[in-house]
């Protein structure tokens, strides 16, 4: 019994001594940052921690959570998907066109995801088979996808009055709206795929050392094509939430989503060099960025300051990752 008694203070002490190390803060930057933000904003604004605002924040975070999970797969392999938000736009326009043609919700949703995945196939083939740098390929498809969305839609938003989409945005279970529940399901499946399946292990192996992975019989080409397909497919799924939120399929350029998705992954402690997989981290990173934007709005800070604040947080997080344990 005496061991039990001494054990407790020891773990507490251990925790306290850990907090003296920079690596502790670097390792847990996203959850710590989220807690700090919540405390600060709830002191400064009484409406921050209300039921309505939390619910709204979670709904607003859903798209970014899905995009961050998608980006996490690509970044774990050491790649990057700069076309992710443009791919989402293609998905949204795909949905709009299909809906306009009278295809119904389910068929339109499938077309949205498939049209987004076309961009994913192009990314995957060029990067894995063509051996072109991921940065250049996805920068190219970012532009191509943006252009395609404008061409197909003739530059005009397609309004969508789908009762299914309306239910998706307005429905909720308690404080959790359907969008964040959908994002949570995506997160759980992604975690499972990454950490409990052969494919997930191969994603981490290719990111850690492609040469060693290949020497052990892992097909790096297949893995790379797959992660860009996952990224694009999830961007297509996020497109549904985007159309639902706006009420229309807009061919708009959503650059903020691209930068915030990458920022969320970096905040979540995933190394851009690859090999270090995390799913929960990027999700918390996405929640943090949403809470930051929401809190600043509640405080009446000008919209102009929000990108500045997001940028500062990301750069700070990137600095902190230098102190992560190897």
């Amino acid at each position: 019994m005496s061991t039990l008694v001494t054990e407790r203070p020891r773990t507490a002490q251990n925790l306290i001594s850990q907090t003296r190390q920079v690596s502790f803060w670097a390792e847990h930057a996203a959850p710590i940052g989220l807690v700090v933000l919540v405390i600060v904003f709830s002191i400064l604004s009484p409406s921050f921690l209300t039921f309505g605002n939390i619910r709204a924040m979670l709904i607003a975070a859903a798209i970014l959570v899905i995009l961050a999970v998608a980006q996490a797969f690509v970044i774990t392999t050491g790649g990057i998907d700069l076309s992710i938000s443009a791919t989402m736009t293609v998905g949204a326009v795909g949905f709009g066109i299909a809906w306009q043609a009278g295809l119904g919700f389910v068929a339109s949703a499938i077309i949205a995801i498939l049209s987004a995945m076309v961009i994913g196939v192009i990314n995957g083939l060029l990067i894995a088979k063509g051996r072109v740098t991921d940065f250049i390929v996805t920068l190219g498809t970012l532009s191509v996808a943006t252009g395609l969305a404008l061409i197909i839609s003739d530059g005009k938003p397609i309004s969508v009055n789908s009762p299914e989409l309306l239910r998706l945005t307005s429905g909720s279970i308690g404080i959790f709206g359907y969008p964040i529940i959908l994002a949570a399901i995506v997160g759980v499946i992604a975690w499972f795929v990454m950490f409990r399946t052969r494919f997930g292990l191969h994603v981490q192996a290719v990111g850690g050392s492609e040469e060693s992975a290949v020497a052990n019989g892992v097909s790096a080409v297949t893995v790379r094509i797959a992660v860009y397909l996952i990224s694009a497919g999830l961007a297509g799924l996020a497109a549904l939430l985007l159309v639902a939120r706006v009420g229309a399929a807009e061919p708009a350029i959503n650059t903020a989503f691209l930068l915030n998705a990458i920022a969320a992954v970096v905040l979540g402690g995933v190394s851009l060099t690859g090999g270090k997989a995390k799913i929960v981290g990027p999700i918390i990173g996405a929640l943090l960025l949403t809470a930051l934007t929401n809190g600043l709005t509640l405080l009446g800070v000008s919209q102009f300051y929000q990108p500045l604040a997001v940028g500062l947080v990301v750069v700070l997080a990137a600095l902190l990752t230098r102190y992560q344990k190897k």
Binding site: R198, S212, N216, K326
Partner: protein, 261 residues
């Protein structure tokens, strides 16, 4: 012991011989890396391959492990003529290679590296999941059997010492039921203590009945570890000796060509 040179020419009848490569030729463009080299590997022995840089040792090993299929010549394994187009085919026949760079992923745990590319799963179809428990237990058991300083299987390879990494790579090669494990300079980057531990691992492997083909530049190590030595010079196996019947001086003379076999 009888003259080993005559043995290599006609070894298919000797039951002690597990693998024999006869008259292997391999050229890369105009460079003749192997000009008809022959060697044999006996069951449960450590066979060393020595020679100067460019003598053809590595090319020979690559032919045996399926990385470079030979241009001509025959490889006989267990009395049957075999040919390997890829490393996978060689592995299927029971020839495992410990690569010089070890082919480990530093960010992954020991057990994940152990099973990388050959993971054990449970369930079926798209619902197949990793059998983590079984993989951890198996990896722990097989590494403990072989190595002296065993790392916990859940630790990341990044945290392992050079010797522990080498032991992991050897245990992985041996763990797949390999009849022959080929090692290219396994202790080249290690200190004295770690070298001793890895050598112990190699002996344990031999005692378990596995044949080991060892490339080494270290004469002391060859004399300590091996049962048989093949000397390569200019793309040919110029001499084969029982280790017990030769000396470091003789081997040096054979390598440089000061002494004809």
């Amino acid at each position: 012991m009888t003259d080993t040179m005559t043995q290599s020419v006609d070894s298919s009848t000797d039951p002690d011989v597990l693998l024999s490569a006869t008259n292997i030729k391999k050229s890369f463009g105009g460079v003749h890396a192997l000009k008809g080299a022959s060697l044999t590997l006996r069951r449960g022995e450590i066979t060393a391959l020595i020679g100067d840089n460019g003598a053809g040792k590595s090319t020979m090993v690559r032919c045996l492990s399926g990385i470079h299929p030979p241009d001509s010549g025959t490889i006989t394994l267990d009395g049957e003529v075999v040919s390997f187009g890829t490393p996978k085919e060689a592995q299927k026949s029971g020839i495992e290679t410990v690569q010089q760079n070890l082919a480990l992923v530093e960010e992954l745990a020991v057990w994940q590296n152990f099973f990388l590319g050959r993971e054990l799963t449970q369930g079926f179809g798209p619902f197949r999941t990793l059998n983590r428990k079984l993989m951890k237990a198996t990896a722990q058991e097989l590494i403990t059997d072989l190595a002296v300083n065993v790392p916990p299987v859940t630790s990341k390879v990044r945290r392992l010492s050079g010797g522990q990494r080498q032991a992991l790579a050897i245990a992985r090669a041996a763990g797949w039921g390999g009849k022959i494990v080929i090692m290219d300079e396994p202790t080249a980057a290690l200190g004295v203590q770690e070298t001793a531990k890895v050598e112990q691992t190699i002996r344990t492997l031999r005692d378990a009945g596995v044949s080991v083909l060892l490339i080494s530049h270290n004469f002391d190590q060859v004399m300590r570890l091996s049962d048989h030595v093949w000397v390569f010079r200019a793309g040919l196996a110029v001499a084969g000796r029982r280790t017990a019947e030769t000396s470091g001086e003789e081997l040096v003379a054979l390598i440089t060509g000061a002494k004809e076999a």
